[in-house]
Symmetry: D2
């Protein structure tokens, strides 16, 4: 039996946030992202207990998930090498912008957490070291989490990153200079740019994040990907580090562990209850989706389902 | 009806953590704290629904709450001027040590959050501006939260801080130079050193923190101190900023919003369920109680009552 | 026999720089300095070989020498404890603003050089430790160097600093927290604020700096204050550290070791040849006198007497 | 007529510094440099007035000049585009290590001066933009300055840098991300690694630096490479920025504008008088030649020819 209330809430939220169009800017740091039509909104909720999915807006439309992909890479790495991931990256908030090299220099190249760029590059390096065909295997893994074999990389976004992502090149070579990266820098960046270019819909993202709400088990297959403890750790990292320099603000306003991307997506979960994804391309100055932040705030206010 | 299980769990935890004596160091940054006997442990749980209190160890023995007092000062300030507190201090994790001046210089003296020293000094300044007799009123407020009129400042600790707390003097004058402090620096430091010297037991602390687990309402009196939203904000700030540079570690291992002090105390809450306080003077290198961290981790593991 | 050429050059320079009035701002960081009439100019040259003095403008009018006093305190400290001064302060350029606390935090409170505020405070501390009556003895020392017993502190400037110099209080307590200051912070600041408030004319300054052009010997008395090596070291420190974050610019444009102050004064020397002082209150954004910088540049261009 | 005194002084210096063998370490940051035999010493002086050259030790033996090459690149750039060089790089000391990225991040990628790595990479970029065949033309330029057509790049050193110089890759991409580099990063690094690998003897270096002692004119050909002002500017930059974080120490102990390299070479000049080069591979912890620093200090002490 579907819970009508959720559907009503999502539809009401859509009505409340659409007047906010125009308050943010579509990401312009890579040329491909600039082309996205700004006034779009989608939201999708998937429940743990009955797998019911509720959505509003263009919830089947794929978009560039960008930094949200860092969570998938982290899940895959944790499923392969367990807690050893955290010998290579920390779990503390950085207090600096996501692409800052300052902290890295002061801390001998050890990334504060896996959700800033430096940490994600090290996670890419881990995947290259422990997988035979990391790009294909990461893609397959995401498809498996989302139960959708059509998910793919967006080659034009990958190319755009490769041509203009100089800060990421700088970061990767900087990590290499501290011997924090084992493999060839070009290979690490190739995997990293590919994962950032993953194109997924809110429906895909919500489904894929369910594994973190379900203590590490894929709902539809019953596959155990992570131990409950590993899953809990990733959730706690998302809580403190998932929203660039708005982690505190998001923790207060939304009160759910989650991760945002400059493509305008946000995915979040409530342990044992649900996962939720939202998308709208216009970003605030912190790089988080304007409508997405408001939509999630309305959602936890309306349902009382914050963790605080 | 008392829940026997909780009592058993607390007693078991005591047995499990006491072998960890000797793994940390009693705080030595002010002379008075060095005098505390290291091998002590206490824990106290207070439930929201029935006000039942469970404890183990020397739960009635007062100790120096130090930085935990920052939460009381913040609650009092929020109860007086509401959201305007957050025009004076931020709500984001700092990523730097609790007494760093670097970030302050880079950010024109605006403290990242009210739980680092810089932010707590600004909260002291707020209290001085809006209270007639801030020291007395803060003390009365804490007594009221804890329902214990015997709570007091420890004059020898206050004096010790005044004679040796040069870093806090530096911080306060630095804030003043950025015009972030309205009142006389000596008055701000006097209030700050007094609040840090508050002497409370685990029983007191657990009772006093209940207001944050109870959406801003004092349980025993029914007084509304904060709105639910104000209470939620303070909880989310504790989650991301309450444990110096171990916020991420605590979020993962314990998974509760809380605050630690270099006196060896930690207080934490689970919204709508309970507040819990633990004390043991030996600190790890991050300034958090060794036994306290382990005890809380055991507690959330045994009860499943983490927020993640 | 007086060298007419120098007099002509100075007078020509005055004519060339006066059209620059209005291009800078009188210092406003302490209230007293704001009261100075902006459109004033003075310049005074004293030669080593014949003690001849040449001047133009209001060369006998006293002004607040501010940071130039750091050189006098350093000379006095070096004359008392020799090279041990450099165990307490470094000799390298800081690369940061003169009143930055960032570098100090990163380097455990060891000041980069004696001409930034942190270093000057440590020099004050040295003087307090090795003199019976440091304020009086410093004043007597400056009078002796300048051969003018009427030089004095300006009490209104001292008071103004004491009431508003919060950044210096912060710096001094910060140094104290790193145990870089031996004496009471209030005493150190009292001496420091007094030395900054010294009121001297260009004629006084030029005469007083002659000791550094004369390898450590006071010309008029023959007293050996410093060894040639000590004198050379202070000159080299002035060259690399004497002009806030314009040290490189001054080294190029003027090419003489010197020191500026936010009162609008600059004193410089050429070893074995002369000392020169210039004053005009309007400052550029780096805190150096606009007309002063230009006047010295014209002087070394006209005379060829740069060290490069 | 040769000045016998200089020859004696150089030979005496050799005797005095050779007992210091073993006090430093041969550079190990690139594999090729590690192979150099540590106990070698050479020194060569060239006078402006009579072009007389004096030398001691293996003054004709080529070594890797490394960062000394930054001066040649700067001279060439200044000869091509004049003062516009200083719109692309600053002239102030950095206060940070030569390969730090921190300052660059805080200052939007604008290098403090052309003698730190970031600045030298921008100078390489300038040369690529204004030369048809920058590697060949830079090599020809250095040969012309040194009047030695046999000078060449050392391909094994270039290769070694290319394979291991990750920090320089990071720096170049970081500059590119701030749009401080116009050309392809690989081209910039190729030129930079080539210039660093220039192999020259003390005799070559001393001769080549004469242009800076001779106000921008090549002695043997009379070619005007720089204006006197441009030459003076480069000298003043060497004075304040030429010795990594020992600029102040070198300014005091030696008192000459100069530049060191991690190959163990140092070249310095006294305007209108001489240029001097010294080489010994063992470095102190600051990256400067142990014997080289002492040799130059003895030289200016013995001759009185410091600029202070």
């Amino acid at each position: 039996m579907r819970d009508i209330k959720y559907q009503q809430i999502l539809d009401e939220i859509k009505g409340r946030v659409e007047p906010l169009y125009g308050r943010g800017q579509v990401a312009d740091y890579i040329p491909e992202l600039r082309k996205v039509k700004p006034h779009q909104f989608a939201m999708c909720l998937t429940c743990v207990n009955d797998k019911a999915q509720y959505s509003t807006g263009c919830a089947e439309k794929p978009f560039s998930i960008q930094s949200i992909s860092k969570v998938f890479a982290l899940i895959l790495a944790a499923s392969k090498i367990g807690e050893r991931v955290y010998q290579r990256v920390g779990i503390e908030p950085s207090g600096d912008p996501f692409n800052s090299l300052v902290q890295l220099e002061h801390e001998q190249g050890f990334p504060r957490n896996p959700l800033i760029n430096a940490g994600a590059l090290v996670v890419s390096d881990i995947l290259i070291s422990c997988l035979d065909d990391p790009k294909t295997q990461l893609l397959d893994f995401v498809r498996r989490l989302a139960n959708n074999s059509k998910i793919n990389f967006d080659a034009s976004v990958t190319d755009s990153e490769k041509k203009t992502g100089f800060r990421n090149y700088a970061m990767a070579y900087f990590l290499k200079s501290f011997e924090r990266i084992e493999n060839c820098v070009d290979d690490v960046l190739d995997l990293y740019f590919h994962q950032c270019s993953l194109s997924m819909s809110c429906s895909d993202l919500s489904y894929a994040f369910l594994v973190l709400a379900n203590r590490g088990v894929i709902m539809h297959s019953g596959d155990k990907i992570l131990t409950p403890s590993q899953s809990k750790r990733i959730n706690s990292i998302m809580q403190t580090c998932g929203f660039y320099d708005q982690a505190g603000e998001f923790t207060f306003r939304v009160g759910l562990p989650g991760k945002s991307g400059v493509g305008g997506g946000i995915a979040a979960i409530k342990p044992d209850e649900f996962s939720i994804a939202v998308w709208s391309p216009e970003l605030n100055k912190h790089g988080n989706s304007v409508l997405g932040m408001h939509a999630l705030e309305h959602f936890t206010t309306a349902t009382g389902k914050s963790i605080f």
